[in-house]
């Protein structure tokens, strides 16, 4: 009887602890995903401004080089473009398709989507400027995301664990 209680209490505690972990997961993932995005735009900059690679190929290449979800956005945009979708629609469509599975905030999504009206639509220097701006913006958001993670990640874990303990105490 006692053994059963102990096992039950342990399970309730674990459930609380892991739900804290889950809640803090997007906090933990966001800085890395933002860093991937910056790397992606850096690659795109190279393809566009130095390689003069046509946009569908350039996007596909970046898509292959980058982990999800950033890589999926580039890859999907390239695929849509290849099938004849206008650039701005293709880019927005790709962002919307993979935003739900990402750890980005609305602000991050907006920074990425802000390229839609300009991508591919001007000369090299102008493209370079736009891509640089997005990278700078993402870098600022990454720094902020790191600070948030350091502050709240442990908090969420502790809260989860505490909630688990609380529930266990109530049932005892």
């Amino acid at each position: 009887m006692v053994l059963l209680r102990v096992v039950g209490a342990a399970m309730v505690f674990l459930a609380g602890y892991s739900s804290g972990r889950v809640l803090s997961a997007s906090l933990r993932r966001r800085p890395g995903e933002l860093r991937d995005l910056q790397a992606g735009f850096g690659l795109l900059d190279t393809e566009v401004c130095h390689g003069l690679t046509p946009l569908p190929e350039a996007l596909a290449r970046v898509g292959r080089a980058l982990p999800a979800p950033g890589g999926r956005v580039f890859g999907e945009a390239g695929r849509l473009l290849e099938s004849g979708t206008p650039v701005s629609e293709a880019w927005i469509g790709a962002v919307e398709a993979f935003y739900p599975s990402s750890a980005w905030t609305g602000e991050d999504r907006e920074a990425v989507a802000s390229l839609a009206p300009v991508l591919g639509r001007s000369g090299r220097e102008d493209q370079h400027r736009h891509l640089l701006l997005v990278r700078e913006r993402l870098a600022r958001q990454e720094a902020e995301a790191r600070a948030q993670r350091d502050r709240y990640e442990r908090l969420w874990s502790y809260l989860g664990a505490l909630a688990g303990v609380g529930v266990v105490l109530v049932f005892l």
């Binding site: 566009v48 690679t53 046509p54 569908p56 004849g84 650039v87 991508l119 639509r121 090299r124």
Partner: protein, 313 residues
Amino acid sequence: MAGFPAAVLARLPERLRPGLESVRAAGWEEIRLAVGRPLTLAGVAGDRFLALDGSLVSRSDHAYRVTSDDVRDALQLMTRGSIYALEEEFRRGYLSLPGGHRVGMAGRAVLENGSVRTIRDVAGLNIRVAREVRGAANGLVPFVVGREGVRSTLLLAPPRGGKTTVLRDLVRQISDGGWRVGLVDERSELAGSVEGVPQLDVGIRTDVLDGCPKAEGVAMLLRAMGPQVVACDEIGGEAEAAILGDAGNAGVRVLATAHAAGLAEATGRAVLGAILRSGVFDRVAVLSRRRGPGTLEEVRDGAGTVISRQMAG
């Protein structure tokens, strides 16, 4: 009869395609899109306007009005959304599509140090449909190819006179006939190359330098490819004159074209006249549109003596 080439239709906005697909393409040379103006087809027999259902009308108010979205979408399809990769083309004012079709652009020019850097706010597109006419040079070949080999030949014609079509077929026939030909295709119109590979038949022994300025291109071919014949379209610059002279002196035969309605007009031009007087060319052929583009009007030798002349009418 076939419609417009797929390479052209695929680069126009979807809403325009059904109408254009139902038009028989024969006889039409250009599709014109200008913001706020009727969708226009231009051809041998003049201009006609096009409605979206594909009917050809002569009154402009019955035709489809081109919108700025049409031009923007077409440009995006033509550039594959990559204007940055085509800075040189925008500076020159035209794009080349796969298959040798050429798209002229009208819009607002952006200047840098007094010369055109690019075109912004493109508002008009003029799509010149390239046509490969095998046998277009049949009438000319006997005058160009003789017992002593290929004779250096200059083709003269007014704009849209069929120069490019005839030169392409001449190059094809000479190349297939056993000569190594080096072709400098500055505007990608002769060979219609895509990623360096000719899409139009320019002969089995033809090396194509695609998108290369003519003077530099001829020099590169002479150095690297060992051609017996070099060919290029629309000469007229001094650098071109010099390098073509060099080629002639090196025993390489030259095939070229130039804008001019006849020999007298050509001789009157500073550079072109100098080239003609230098004796590089053994034959000068004049073409016209009298019986369709590429009609052979007369052939002269290098000294200007008429060898053959079609009687007018």
